[in-house]
């Protein structure tokens, strides 16, 4: 998303770079319920990258 919180697009290189970095994280909590009988998705933990001119300038939260 952009600074107005609207959908936007990024270059393939940036997307691949961010995905590769995130996939290296070992202790990121699972998003799906760990209980077999409880089917739901909950992202209490998320990582967001703030990009300016193609460079990561901040991490959220």
């Amino acid at each position: 998303m952009n600074r107005e919180f609207k959908a936007t697009s990024f270059t393939k290189e940036i997307v691949n770079h961010v995905i590769n970095k995130v996939s290296e994280l070992e202790d990121f909590p699972a998003t799906y319920s760990q209980l077999e009988w409880l089917d739901y998705k909950d992202i209490h933990a998320f990582l967001m990258f703030k990009l300016e001119n193609g460079k990561i300038t901040d991490l959220c939260p």
């Binding site: 600074r3 959908a7 967001m48 959220c60 939260p61």
Partner: protein, 279 residues
């Protein structure tokens, strides 16, 4: 036609005619009280489901169909989208809540948005804009944003934008307003800490040390303050004092700024202290 057949036919006719007479009452014809009751019923039904679930959102949506201007429900719906990672939708819903609320001269949704822009989306310009608008609408220079002074949020946003002088001024306003309200501002250890951070960035180490120590006078178990003091003494080539503070940061590491809902700026982690102690 037998009598039995006639009776059955009559009953069927009666049923059909009574059905036709029934008028369907839509929610739009309800008065405001009834609409409120119906929206509240949907709202309460949604609470039987987990906040990030689709059913939770469906019931909240139903409540909003009945009461589209209900800011509280709209804001709560945004939490659900946020918790499933649909941030664009979450902000769309929240922005609408803010739009309705501020049009009515209220700032509740705006206060929540300022908090969320700072701690979740790191939109510092957005925080300053929202806090300024809150002050304009309420006519007060001291307001509360989701449990913390709005000025504290604005000050942190200014600090992150490297506008240190304005950040310090903003923190000072929070303290002076709280003094007027009868609060003991010596307890504002977070404000002292971030004021210290501003002075550190401005390389005014003397003032920075003063403010870190003020925060420690309020909360002794504050590893971030010891860590920052350690960094300053290291810069000043006072390695003995630097080491003392890094050791204290390590001792109190379990009392750090880690919180379940938000990520504070300048939180210190074990590895950071260990790296300093290794040197």
């Amino acid at each position: 036609m037998s009598l039995k057949q006639k009776i059955i036919s009559l009953v069927i006719l009666l049923i059909i005619s009574s059905c036709n007479k029934k008028t369907i009452t839509g929610y739009s014809s309800l008065d405001e009280n009834k609409k409120g009751e119906l929206a509240n019923w949907y709202h309460e039904m949604s609470n039987y489901f987990l906040q990030p679930s689709e059913l939770y959102r469906i019931y909240k949506d139903s409540a909003l169909v009945v009461q589209p201007n209900n800011v509280d429900l709209r804001q709560r719906l945004s939490y659900s989208y946020k918790k499933v990672g649909e941030h664009i939708k979450a902000m769309e819903v929240l922005n609408k809540a803010v739009e309705i609320d501020t049009a009515n001269g209220k700032t509740d949704a705006l206060e929540y948005r300022a908090w969320t822009l700072l701690y979740y989306y790191r939109d510092y310009e957005g925080v300053i804009r929202d806090v300024d608008l809150i002050e304009k609408i309420t006519g007060n220079s001291y307001n509360s944003c989701w449990g913390e002074p709005c000025g504290f949020h604005k000050g942190q946003a200014l600090y992150k934008l490297n506008d240190f002088k304005k950040a310090i001024e903003t923190f000072e306003i929070v303290n002076s307003e709280e003094e007027k309200l009868g609060f003991d501002t010596n307890d504002n250890y977070m404000i002292f800490f971030y004021t210290g951070r501003c002075y550190s960035k401005m390389k005014n180490y003397k003032r920075a040390i003063l403010f870190y120590e003020k925060s420690l006078a309020s909360v002794k178990q504050f590893p971030e303050a010891y860590y920052q003091l350690g960094l300053i003494y290291k810069k000043l080539n006072n390695y003995k004092k630097a080491n003392e503070n890094f050791k204290l940061a390590k001792e109190y590491i379990n009392y750090g700024m880690s919180e379940p809902y938000v990520e504070r700026f300048d939180e210190v982690f074990q590895y950071m202290i260990d790296n300093e102690l290794k040197e």
